[in-house]
């Protein structure tokens, strides 16, 4: 363990940073695309099922294949990896956003509309705050997926902790495999914990402190 850190310490930091960078960027894109689409779908229910089906279908493409599919479009490196992981992050966020919004008590939406909130005000002031915990749960789930799958991104030259793992596999070096896997796990746990804090922060208060 100590020798591993001595030999690969600097590399480990770099790879962890790359890993985090790829994951965070994909997740960020996923959030800014999937949350608004999820919200819009509640206003366009007829097409909601179609959109959900497409998102589910994208999810079923094997991760390895999706990464490989990106090469003709984006070449190799971080960009195709980010695009691929972004596509993976969409479904959990989209589905939770849509369901969270749809499950907001109809009486609240009716009251909001009846009192004269515009559609937009109803979304911002009532529906999104009420759906926030469910939306956040989707984001946390996506974050875990993305961090785990980012390890595969090394396969198309994106770098990240996957480099250790693939090297370990090629060289039959268990220490390298573990040296790549364990940081991925730790990273996923830390990010999930941080997002949990964020979830608590965005969940609206409903009782006095």
């Amino acid at each position: 363990m100590i020798t591993f850190l001595q030999n690969y310490g600097g590399q480990l930091l770099l790879k962890t940073w790359q890993h985090l960078y790829i994951s965070a960027f994909s997740l960020f894109l996923g959030v800014i695309v999937a949350v608004p689409i999820g919200i819009l779908l509640t206003r366009a229910k007829p097409i909601a099922n179609t959109v959900m089906a497409i998102a589910s279908m994208l999810q079923t493409i094997p991760a390895m294949a999706l990464l490989a599919l990106m090469i003709p479009f984006f070449g190799i490196g971080a960009i195709p990896a980010i695009v691929a992981l972004f596509i993976y992050s969409l479904l959990p966020i989209l589905r939770n956003t849509y369901l969270g919004m749809k499950d907001v008590e109809p009486a609240l939406i009716d009251a909001a509309k009846g009192m004269g909130l515009t559609n937009w005000q109803s979304i911002i002031k009532v529906e999104v705050p009420m759906a926030a915990p469910v939306i956040m749960a989707g984001i946390r789930l996506s974050a875990t997926y993305v961090i785990a799958w980012a390890a595969l991104a090394s396969y198309i030259g994106a770098g990240g902790l996957g480099d250790f793992i693939f090297n370990g596999l090629n060289l039959y070096r268990t220490d390298l495999i573990l040296g790549g896997s364990i940081p991925v796990i730790i990273l996923a746990l830390i990010v999930d914990w941080l997002l949990g804090k964020l979830e608590a922060a965005v969940t609206p208060k409903t009782t006095q402190s």
Partner: protein, 397 residues
């Protein structure tokens, strides 16, 4: 006219007719209840007023302005809206809930704070509740806030859709008193949807009875009780309530004993005495040949004056109490009880004697009010009982 609804029709896609040719005019300060079974179109009609639903045809005018020409968001901000599920925003404090519409209207913070305090005082809740969240209040307290939230932006018209349906009876009654008070004190106009006839009778200035999208009857609570338009309305009111309401809506003519024992002023005392004896009564009403009530003689008058007077006309008391057959039992009961009268003659509008109300009649009324016609057998027993009693009642005359 404050609110006018003309030839409103609402047909849902698929051809289901929810409301058909609905016409109603509501004046400022009225409390109008829409009552009917589910599917009667009462909620649909109400929701057309703030454009939560749009009519298939027909017009609604608020203060003379066609509401289809008003921006729906603007319109809704000037109409209060209270729903059965309360609909307080769980993530907003009571203060923010109350001032939701004022905030949309961009009132100043000071003015909103002022209004929040004013509103919570109106519903008699402590001011520190303003900083609480809805989940910290009981259902009844929450709906109190729901009610004042609908008034916070000085809305003149308040729509309520079965607002108290989910509350326990005691809380419900307190809230009914509250809204009735708001209507009377602040002159707000209420359109109130309910399926509870007690509630409608208690609150309304006018009741609109609906069934299958049609208006069946529009009348005051008294009018509905007194003249239900048809069997549907009667059923909606319920037998119990009709019986209970009887003392306050029945007329004297409906309960009086017909064919009271009467004589004429020209008769001699001997004849009068014989008539009393034959009919087992202690007094006789006196009418002229045309049946106009003139007075009364009692057995004590006959006894006292038997030797000095000759005709009924000489000794009858002319100054007597009587009631119109069209007047309400309620008032008559009071008069009989207050004056300690044994009976009151009943006259028609031409002052002709048509009947008599005795203390035994009052017994019947009280008896009916308490037990009603519980079942057919008992009901027919009551009638026999009444007939058997007739001579005895006469006997008190």
């Amino acid at each position: 006219m404050f609110l006018t609804m003309e030839h409103l029709n609402k047909t849902y896609p698929g051809g289901k007719v929810a409301v058909e040719d609905f016409n109603l005019e509501i004046e400022k300060g009225e409390f109008v209840c829409f009552i009917g079974t589910s599917g009667s179109g009462k909620t649909t009609t109400m929701r057309m007023i703030n454009r939560m639903l749009s009519q298939t045809s027909g017009t609604i005018k608020l203060n003379g302005e066609d509401i289809s020409q008003i921006d729906p968001v603007k319109l809704r901000r000037q109409i209060g809206y209270v729903i059965q599920n309360i609909g307080l925003m769980p993530h907003m404090t009571i203060r923010d809930n109350i001032t939701l519409v004022p905030r949309l209207l961009k009132w100043s913070q000071d003015k909103m704070n002022e209004r929040a305090k004013e509103m919570i005082k109106l519903v008699e809740l402590p001011e520190d509740y303003l900083d609480r969240y809805p989940s910290q209040l009981s259902g009844g307290q929450q709906q109190r806030i729901g009610v004042v939230r609908a008034l916070a932006a000085n809305q003149d018209l308040v729509l309520m859709d079965e607002p108290f349906g989910a509350l326990d009876p005691i809380t419900r009654e307190a809230l009914q008193d509250l809204v009735k008070d708001l209507q009377e004190r602040l002159g707000k106009t209420f359109v109130f949807v309910t399926h509870d006839m007690d509630e409608a009778l208690k609150l309304s200035t006018r009741i609109v009875v609906m069934d299958g999208g049609d208006i069946i009857q529009v009348d005051t609570p008294d009018g509905i009780l007194r003249h239900p338009a048809n069997e549907f309305v009667e059923n909606l009111i319920g037998k119990d309530r009709l019986i209970q309401a009887r003392p306050s809506i029945t007329t004297v003519g409906q309960v009086m004993l017909k064919n009271p024992i009467a004589t004429t002023p020209g008769k001699s005392l001997t004849v009068a005495l014989r008539q009393m004896h034959d009919k087992r009564v202690d007094s006789l009403l006196v009418t002229d040949e045309a049946g106009i009530l003139k007075g009364v003689i009692g057995i004590e008058d006959v006894d006292y004056n038997f030797n000095s007077a000759t005709s009924v006309g000489d000794i009858m008391k002319r100054d007597i109490f009587y009631v119109q057959s069209s007047s309400l039992i309620r008032d008559t009961v009071e008069r009989i009880l207050k004056r300690g009268l044994k009976n009151i003659p009943v006259v028609d509008e031409n002052h002709r004697l048509v009947g008599i109300v005795t203390r035994a009649t009052l017994v019947d009324i009280v008896y009916d009010a308490l037990w009603g016609d519980e079942d057919e057998d008992e009901a027919s027993n009551n009638i026999h009982h009444g007939e058997d009693d007739a001579p005895a009642e006469g006997g008190e005359q």
